[in-house]
Point group: C2
Chain length 178, copies 2
């Protein structure tokens, strides 16, 4: 329910009703709504494979990122959707999210050889989130029903331009850029 409705619209009474149970019982077990959310949103480490990254450079981290994204594209990752959807309105969720995302960000950063590695890592992370949000939360356009493979294949060159410093073939920028 947190994943579908967000933090505020998920009421303890509704949770209890869905469980066929009295609201007091939910309080008895979880004490507080915030705590219930925390327990419901314990991330099963689905943002990145929990283990450390292989030492390799940009090319390898691209594959790691793509693999982790792919795993999040099959079946709704409800726990992280709960965090994701509530993050924008619940400060506890925001904190929890930041705490989970930052070490991963710096891990990605160290795998990118360029000087602006931090920004590149942030952009990679932003793309992953954008895709997940648009697919599951907004259900917008083709992204909502495309196959994971299609998405991954289209994203791969995109990620490579970010994770390695190489430019795509057609020059750096078109002459008449505006």
């Amino acid at each position: 329910m947190f994943a579908e409705l967000g933090y505020e619209r998920t009421t303890i009474r509704a949770v209890a009703r869905a469980a066929g149970v009295d609201a007091g019982l939910v309080m008895h077990y979880y004490g507080t709504k915030d705590n219930l959310f925390s327990r419901a949103a314990e991330l099963p480490a689905d943002d990145l494979p929990a283990g450390d990254l292989p030492g390799g450079g940009g090319e390898e981290i691209v594959e790691v990122l793509l693999a982790s994204l792919a795993s999040r594209l099959v079946g709704e990752p409800v726990a992280s959707l709960a965090v994701l959807r509530s993050m924008l309105t619940n400060s506890d969720a925001a904190e929890r999210y930041r705490a989970a995302a930052e070490p991963q960000l710096s891990q990605i950063t160290t795998a990118i050889p360029t000087e602006d590695a931090e920004l590149r890592a942030s952009l990679l992370s932003a793309i992953v989130h954008g895709v997940i949000i648009e697919r599951y939360l907004l259900r917008l356009g083709r992204l909502a029903d495309a196959s994971p493979e299609e998405i991954i294949e289209l994203l791969r060159p995109c990620f490579q331009t970010l994770a390695t410093a190489e430019m795509p073939p057609s020059s750096v920028r078109p002459a008449g850029a505006r």
Copy 2:
């Protein structure tokens, strides 16, 4: 306040207090909270330049997209942040957003020459949203304070691989992909 707190946590009483005014007055002028939100969230067409796109193919739409993103990276676009933040919990905001985003999506689609143009357009849109969300709503990593120019320059090759069917130089996929 809608942009900062989202729809549910923004109370009419708080809005009134911030305006140094009684809550009844807000009701008198806006009738209902939903209506107040609608008025506050009237998009000043900051998703894409309202005019039609130049007829050109993939290369041009990349520049249009980048320009529109760039304009959203200078100074917080509060109105669209309000929609963006509330969209995930308020169904009216979701509807409003979808209505604004879909025609733009199809516009982008027609500018992309490949067969999977729809999915590519969705991905481009997802990236834009991911960047905005991560910069303004999550305030995560370097993206929060990087200059618009930096971001645009890094994104350009990324967008080009999506809007045109071209691949970056270093082969399609690494041999040891896992």
